[in-house]
């Protein structure tokens, strides 16, 4: 496969679980600086697609290129170090640690065993923690134990943990699940800010939210891409209305 200008180029990607193809010969390109939203009914394979990109699940066939580098055979932590960050569908934070520690641990330094032993929380680290905490609206909660945060705040904290790593591709699986209306608005603003200078893939079911943030929408169904394009175009597509938007 030839090199491209895309930050992420997925071609003919397939994964099967005991014969069931959760992702079926899928091809998808994401531009630099783009905010892409993936929608689709339950079980369409959206989470599985993210799992494949970040190496959690190994592909049966096909290719995933991030900045023209093949990812399918790379270990998970190497994919992260290449610049891919991923938020899980259920908030995945360190509940027993303070917000500060959660962010500090995510700082991309001292990642080897010896490096972690020698790691010092320098002013540079503190400044970054502070600025990321401000970005995600948790600057006043740095000393709070993360487990005590509200559900929405936990989602933001996990996004903040990813921002600490300054990934070039950020993947968010249902970031507004369980959020209040106000929190959803704040998250939309946050996403619009953080997609400056990086590419973001968001999986979401909430159509109002999608309309607000998406540059381009991809609709998935049964492991394949059903439609792709602007929100208006996708919404008008009869196939999409039939399998997804119709209900």
């Amino acid at each position: 496969m030839s090199n491209t200008d895309f930050v992420l180029a997925i071609e003919d990607l397939t994964v099967s679980f005991d014969g069931f193809k959760a992702i079926d010969a899928l091809t998808l390109y994401v531009d630099r600086g783009e905010l892409r939203v993936i929608i689709g009914p339950n079980g369409a394979g959206k989470t599985t697609l993210l799992d494949l990109i970040c190496g959690k699940t190994k592909a049966s066939a096909g290719s995933i290129k991030f900045k023209n580098q093949e990812m399918t055979r790379l270990a998970e932590h190497k994919i992260v170090r290449a610049g891919v960050g991923r938020k899980f569908q259920t908030p995945s934070i360190y509940e027993n640690l303070s917000v500060f520690k959660n962010l500090e641990v995510s700082f991309p330094q001292g990642r080897s065993v010896l490096g972690a032993l020698g790691f010092r929380c320098t002013d540079e680290v503190k400044e970054r923690v502070q600025s990321v905490a401000t970005e995600i609206g948790l600057a006043d909660a740095l000393d709070t134990e993360a487990g005590l945060l509200s559900h929405g705040q936990k989602q933001w904290l996990e996004i903040g943990m990813l921002l600490m790593q300054e990934p070039e591709l950020l993947m968010l699986d249902e970031p507004i699940a369980g959020m209040s209306v106000r929190e959803r608005e704040l998250t939309a603003d946050l996403l619009q800010r953080i997609c400056k200078g990086r590419s973001v893939i968001v999986i979401e079911h909430d159509m109002d939210f999608v309309k607000r943030i998406a540059h381009k929408v991809t609709v998935m169904h049964q492991g394949k891409i059903l439609a792709e394009g602007s929100m208006e175009k996708v919404q008008a597509d009869p196939k999409v209305i039939d399998v997804y938007l119709g209900h």
Binding site: E76, H77, F88, N96, V105, A116, L117, E145
Partner: protein
């Protein structure tokens, strides 16, 4: 000054000092040499328990085979001492003088090549920690890179303990078999059976134990300690933050092995022999119980756990030997079900608040009496919340 005070509190220096006071000053002043030697023996098990705090408490990796590393460390030491005790003069009645007695009994006529390095103390001392750590590295690297963990890993460690026991017992001529390596006498000509030697070895042991605890505390307070806790709770989040989780687990396992091995070597020196009965599954499980009773998140708790359980064992196995096994099993189940954080957890949740309540009325009467007074603001940013299950802030050493 306040920063320093809060650092002292966070680092658990107080509880480490208290432990040091107890084992370095109080015990030697109040016990005769026989009892002190017994305590010294218990303290060698405490090394294993401290290692388990790092591995199991912090890393979340349960090993039921720590006896392997304790035993190997002990054997490495015993091999050196045995060679020194087997000089041609002392063994002249053997058919091959100059080799350990058990080799002679098993018709060996010369020292096996792999015993040769143990003629030299520096090599033997290196082997004490290096051999167990290399074995630990091989086992854990193979397992953790393949994502074997949890119960499966615990079973693997049991299998290793079993294999090593069988190997030692089976290879009598090379290892001394089921009796182990006995009749150890001198270290570079210094008689380790003397009371004065026992006293000195007790202090060396106590000093090493405190040193190991300080080292572990330092690791706990580094980013690596935080990562171990983070991995224990959300392994995938750590992995997808760019860390090679397997290598951190390998580190914890190798660290615990090295610490256990030091304990094993000190056991050999203080007790005067090493045998396969410290390698197998049962002693390995006992060591987990020490850590569990003391509190698997607490380094000093692990030492108290090792001391208490062993005092109990000595007491009961004299008065009611059959009962002891049941008692110990009951103790373990009781601790795990009722006090998952062991004695240390009990202290944190009951004793500390009780002290705090007793101090409170004296310290701040003004804040309580006038109903109009504002509630006392949290004074320190770092003041730990009252109940933190297993988090770093709530933990002392």
């Amino acid at each position: 000054m306040d920063a320093f005070k809060s650092w002292i509190a966070r680092s658990g220096t107080g509880s480490i000092l208290l432990l040091a006071l107890l084992i370095v000053v109080v015990f030697p002043l109040t016990m005769d040499i026989f009892r002190l030697n017994l305590v010294g023996k218990y303290l060698t098990y405490a090394f294993v328990a401290v290692g388990l705090v790092m591995l199991w408490g912090y890393g979340g990796i349960l090993s039921l085979g720590q006896g392997v590393f304790f035993g190997l460390g002990g054997y490495m030491m015993a091999m050196f001492l045995k060679l020194e005790a087997s000089d041609p003069e002392a063994t002249k009645i053997q058919s091959t003088p100059g080799i350990p007695d058990f080799m002679d009994w098993n018709q060996l006529t010369e020292l096996p090549l792999w015993w040769e390095p143990f003629r030299h103390l520096p090599l033997a001392l290196i082997a004490v920690v290096a051999v167990p750590m290399v074995l630990a590295f091989i086992i854990s690297f193979a397992m953790f890179k393949r994502r074997v963990g949890g119960v499966y890993f615990a079973i693997i460690t049991q299998a290793v303990a079993l294999i090593l026991t069988v190997l030692i017992i089976g290879q009598q001529g090379y290892t001394g078999g089921v009796n182990g390596i006995t009749d150890l006498r001198t270290l570079l000509g210094w008689d380790i059976r003397d009371d004065s030697a026992k006293l000195i070895l007790y202090f060396v042991n106590a000093g090493l134990l405190i040193g190991v605890i300080v080292l572990c505390r330092w690791i706990q307070m580094s980013k690596l300690g935080t990562l171990l806790l983070a991995m224990r709770d959300k392994e995938d989040r750590v992995r997808f933050s760019g860390y090679d989780v397997a290598m951190f687990k390998v580190f914890a396992f190798v660290l615990a092995a090295g610490i256990s091995a030091i304990g094993g070597a000190m056991f050999t020196l203080q007790v005067g022999f090493m045998s396969p009965s410290f390698v197998g599954i049962v002693p390995s499980i006992e060591m987990v119980i020490f850590a569990a009773v003391g509190g698997r998140m607490s380094l000093v708790g692990a030492v108290y756990g090792a001391l208490l359980v062993n005092f109990g064992k000595t007491y009961f196995s004299e008065s009611a030997p059959d009962l002891w096994l049941f008692l110990m099993a009951a103790l373990f189940i009781g601790v795990v079900l009722a006090f998952p954080n062991g004695l240390a957890g009990l202290y944190e949740s009951h004793v500390k608040p009780w002290f705090a309540r007793r101090k409170a009325p004296k310290a701040a009467p003004a804040a309580i009496e006038p109903p109009a007074a504002p509630p006392p603001a949290p004074s320190h940013k770092s003041a730990p919340p009252a109940t933190l299950p297993g988090g770093v802030q709530g933990q002392s050493a």
